[in-house]
């Protein structure tokens, strides 16, 4: 499969003189991929997603979509191919769910154009694909966390809708972070379905190793702004890599029948790079 979205040796700092938050990262997302990005807090996952979406430009290196450098595309053209689902969506005003989904059509409309029948149909299909058709006219702020997240995913689908001729990617930043177990499961199966049935290429940053193990076919492990390991999930998700990534001893269990991988964290290792534990002098003997 050909590469759809490709970060080629990108580095990024938020301000001149500030430290690099992403450093020499190369990531390839093939057409149809479902990739997970794992790493501790502050490892650069969110920044990498911003670079991949083109809302930030790398300090060095480049991002390509298809064969075109992303920074040669207008924001509007880029947004037709790359949609982002942010960690949390907080509204200043009381929009209805359908209005949020229709906002996804923004890059397809002219300055004075109003959403037409096609846009509305695409929005309704996106609601249907995320199982939220019944929430269409509800106020967004009245929805539960899981429902909100599904509406925001529907908005991303509406944004990509009808650009199937051109390749399209959804980037999701910790989509299950604030959700309980039931909603986590729901979002996970939704993402799998969207990837398999609707062919949406996805990269998902997450702290949930078990979700990543169950739905992502490939993983990118990030630490301190660099890629620690990348490849097929079964090869990358090893006890050794988990230790290097999080400074945590973990049991990684592979179910022989189903092939499911489960990760059970056992204990924290003090590697010295982390904050010292209370009482310790931060100086491992």
């Amino acid at each position: 499969m050909r590469d759809l979205l490709w970060a080629d040796n990108v580095s990024f700092r938020y301000a001149a003189g500030a430290p690099l938050v992403v450093e020499g990262v190369t990531v390839r997302l093939a057409d149809g991929a479902l990739a997970g990005i794992l790493g501790p807090n502050g490892s650069g996952k969110t920044t990498l997603l911003r670079l991949l979406s083109g809302t930030r430009r790398p300090t060095s290196g480049r991002v390509l979509i298809g064969d075109r450098p992303l920074d040669q595309l207008s924001r509007r053209d880029a947004a037709r191919q790359i949609a982002v689902v942010p960690q949390e969506t907080e509204l200043a005003f009381e929009y209805r769910a359908i209005e949020i989904v229709l906002m996804g059509r923004h890059p397809h409309l002219g300055v004075f154009t109003v959403e037409g029948p096609d846009d509305i149909r695409i929005a309704q299909e996106a609601l249907a694909a995320t199982g939220t058709s019944h929430l269409s006219d509800r106020f967004f702020h009245e929805l539960s966390g899981g429902e909100k997240q599904r509406i925001v995913i529907a908005a991303a689908l509406a944004q990509l809708g009808h650009s199937f001729s051109a390749p399209s990617v959804a980037l999701l930043d910790e989509p299950t972070a604030s959700l309980d177990l039931g909603y986590q499961l729901e979002i996970s199966s939704l993402l799998t379905r969207l990837n398999q049935d609707h062919g949406v290429t996805m990269a998902i940053s997450t702290h949930d190793l078990n979700m990543a193990a169950s739905i992502c076919r490939e993983l990118i492990l990030m630490r301190d702004g660099r890629v620690l390991a990348a490849g097929p999930t079964s090869e990358v998700l090893t006890p050794d890599n988990v230790r290097r990534l999080y400074d945590v001893e973990a049991d990684v269990h592979v179910n022989d029948e189903t092939g499911h991988i489960t990760v059970l964290p056992v204990r924290r290792i003090d590697s010295g790079s982390r904050l010292p534990a209370p009482g310790s002098r931060g100086n491992p003997a």
Partner: protein, 333 residues
């Protein structure tokens, strides 16, 4: 119903209301006049007292009220979306304080210049609003990427306080009559005696409204969040700058015409959102039209309630707006 149709119907209804109010308002006053007689072309102009009162004495004031009300309400909508804060007003970012300082200086320094027939107070207040806008803009865009809305807000609030201190200082140095005149200006008033000041403010307001018209859908996205808007195809830096500059320019022009009339920019957008929802493609034009009608009605109350004494219209809007604002605050929390 299609979205286009819904926008057209709602905006037409608000337009009809605004036009009705603005035709009716000039007929009310110490001398009541007949609308039919005022518009009767068969009566010669010099014999038609009703027409003279309507077109010469009262209509300029009503038009000024409509223009100022529409501008303040629309600028309020734009800034609330830009700052993602429904409690923002057109004066939050220092425009009115700059304008007041300018007017204050013009009064106390007895500036008698006039450009194209516009007198020193509106000129100086407009210059003051531009200065305040430039300072806040420079501070907020010293950030690396676009305008920081936090810096915008902090710079605006601080500048408001600083300019207020300067105003008090100038007032302290002024003599009694000057101080009174300046204070009277700051209460806001639509005592417009001719069409000329309206025509002078109009170009700035028209340019700003053209910018507003282009950004309504973008305002929806901005109000969801800058990062999210960027990922949906909005050129954030451009959009934020256009929103801030056009809203400030419009506010400066409106304040130079009517003084810093408070609360219009917050009450009106809120009432409109309660009626029509949050979509800026409807909220923005509906607020402008409702703002026009609202300020004209407040001004009608100002000049008739205690007739022959006239209450400053800024006092009327504040008396309505203050409690309303507090109610809003409590309701939200």
């Amino acid at each position: 119903m299609s979205i286009r149709r819904r926008i057209a119907i709602v905006v037409s209804a608000f337009a009809a209301f605004a036009i009705a109010v603005m035709i009716w308002a000039p007929t009310v006053g110490t001398t009541s006049i007949s609308l039919a007689r005022a518009f009767d072309r068969s009566i010669p102009w010099h014999d038609n007292v009703d027409a003279q009162i309507f077109f010469v004495a009262r209509l300029p004031r009503v038009l000024a009220g409509g223009l100022v009300g529409a501008t303040l309400a629309a600028a309020g909508v734009v800034l609330q979306a830009l700052l993602r804060n429904p409690l923002a007003t057109p004066f939050t970012l220092g425009v009115s304080a700059g304008a007041s300082l300018g007017a204050m200086l013009a009064v106390t320094m007895r500036l008698e210049l006039s450009v194209l027939g516009i007198t020193s107070i509106p000129l100086a207040s407009f210059a003051g609003s531009l200065l305040a806008t430039a300072i806040v803009y420079a501070l907020a865009s010293s950030q690396r990427r676009g305008l920081s809305t936090n810096v915008l807000l902090l710079a605006g609030v601080t500048l408001n306080a600083f300019f207020s201190a300067l105003i008090l200082f100038v007032q302290y140095l002024a003599d009694f009559a000057e101080a009174l005149r300046a204070i009277r200006w700051m209460m806001g008033g639509l005592d417009v005696a001719s069409y000329f000041p309206i025509v002078a403010a109009l170009p700035f307001i028209v340019i700003s409204f053209a910018a507003f018209a282009m950004m309504t859908r973008t305002l929806n996205l901005l109000s969801v969040g800058a990062e999210a808007a960027a990922s949906r195809g909005v050129e954030i830096v451009k959009a934020q700058r256009l929103a801030f500059v056009s809203a400030s320019l419009a506010t400066g022009a409106a304040v130079s015409l009517g003084g810093p009339i408070g609360f219009i920019g917050i009450i009106v957008p809120h009432l409109v959102r309660l009626m029509v929802g949050a979509d800026h493609r409807i909220v923005l034009p509906a607020s402008a039209l409702f703002g026009a009608a609202f300020l004209v009605l407040c001004d009608l109350a100002a000049r008739t309630l205690m007739s022959p004494l006239e209450i400053p219209v800024g006092v009327v809007t504040a008396l309505i707006g203050g409690p309303f604002f507090l109610w809003l605050l409590v309701k939200r929390s």
